[in-house]
């Protein structure tokens, strides 16, 4: 049989590659559109509730975008957007909502405890862990400085 290293080189050279520029472009456009929608929500909230301080408007925008992401996941639209956009729809907070809701939907059939609750964070878990660790580090640094 053929030398294994030679075969690995053949596989590396010849296996089909992701179309990088097309993926980058799609991610840029869709990610940008999601952020624009977020800005739109932000503006709408501040127009509807002029008394609300700017920080609270930001929080409410996040809440609305998470809901939209979760809702689009539940009706089976978000995975179709993700198939085109790739990173463009994973990085915004709607993508985070998708990564929590999709396992919850998937493991619904194993029951509430060992299905939904146990498996909900299989994908988002690392993000939450890193978020908390980074939060603590920055908090401690802020305390010192």
């Amino acid at each position: 049989m053929t030398d294994k290293a030679e075969y690995r080189a053949f596989v590396k050279r010849n296996s089909p590659k992701s179309p990088m520029w097309r993926s980058l472009f799609a991610a840029f456009v869709v990610g940008g559109l999601i952020c624009m929608a977020g800005e739109g929500v932000h503006d709408a909230i501040s127009a509807l509730f002029p008394a609300l301080p700017d920080e609270d408007v930001g929080s409410w925008t996040t809440v609305v975008m998470i809901f939209v992401g979760a809702f689009l996941t539940a009706i089976g639209v978000y995975d179709k957007i993700g198939r085109v956009a790739g990173g463009g729809s994973i990085i915004p907070i709607t993508g985070f909502a998708n990564s929590v809701v999709s396992p919850a939907l998937e493991y619904n059939r194993e029951g509430v405890f060992f299905g939904i609750c146990a498996k909900m964070f299989v994908i988002a878990g690392p993000i939450i862990v890193f978020g908390i660790v980074a939060g603590i580090l920055v908090g401690v640094l802020g305390l010192i400085g």
Partner: protein, 416 residues
Amino acid sequence: MRAGRQSFFAEHPIYLRSSYTIVGPKEGDGNFGDRFDTVLPDDLWGERSYEKAESKMHREAVRGAVCLAGCDADGIDVCLAGDLLNEISASGLAMRYFKSPFLGLYNACATFAEAVIVGSALIDCGMARTAACSSSSHFASAERQYRYPLELGNQRTPTSQWTVTGAGCSVLSSVRPTTEDDEECRTHFKEKMKAMRDECMRAASAEDSECGKGGGIENPFAKRGGDALERMKHKLLRTLRPASLIEPDCDLAYRRTHIVKITGGTLGKVTDFGIDDESNMGGAMAPAAADTLIAHLEDTGRTPGYYDAIVTGDLGRFGTEAFCYLLSKEGITLDNHFDCGAGFFKPEQKTFQGGSGAGCVNVVFNGHIAKRMERGELGRVLVIATGALLNKDTPLQKENIPGIAHAFTAESEPYV
């Protein structure tokens, strides 16, 4: 009879008595869409989960093949089955239905060839007269098993393959079928299927009534608790979406002119060429397929031209390229090669490399190749089913992905 290091020839004739296939909707739109016995309009088939649906498909495929073979529920001497789920649960749960001994097999996507080889060996040595060889896979349950939740918005890589939603079963037998038997089984298929289900259900409900329970309609093994809801759901489905609860069907007019025999096979070795990308199964399996083919040719002294077709399991488009590359290094060129996975879906179905899964080679062999052999279009065929041996954790533990490939040979002869 042993031949060479890895191969064997059957000493007695082993006939492919019947074959039966059930596939999902996307497969029905694919290249072989019109060759399958039953195409489901809904890949849940009225079940609560995709795993249950896969098990039901497996069960119905075996039932269909057994009915087409003209056997009773207990007329099969041994059932050989496997699938891709953890602890081959789809097969295990499906086999509750049959009163036959069951051997569970697993060789990833090569399970079907393994089942045919084991079945032929058992029949050849006289341990069994009939063997049902089946395997199944389901896209949604395999995605959950090996990859991510269905609704997660991630991108598939261009090297990825699409797990075929399908189940198929071949009944092998030492008894030569006759045209009269064939006709009888085809015309009475519906009644036979119903009779078999009723027989099993009576047994199930008799057991249940002892502990104050009764049998369900669609699933004889359903628990009584919450059954009212289940029955209501079925009633709703039956009125709103009758297509989602279709019964397995068969082509009544189909008659074969030739009969397929399993004449031998080559058992494959596990080959590890150091591929560690779990989304590039074709690259991981191609060395195993090449290894088995070379071993087969050496053991039997045949040339590739001896066969009318050499069929590989689910290498996919890139895997086929890698397979041909490896063979060309050995000085072998194939002009009669066909890959089930690469040919399964149409390009516009966006499956990148094509189909894969334990059901892929099974439904293509049973639905397409065996039918062509039965019409006399193909005489001698070598089927090499390939599998990638991994689970979700092994790539995370930095293991390579080894491949395996098993081959069996089938020949057709005319009915006399």
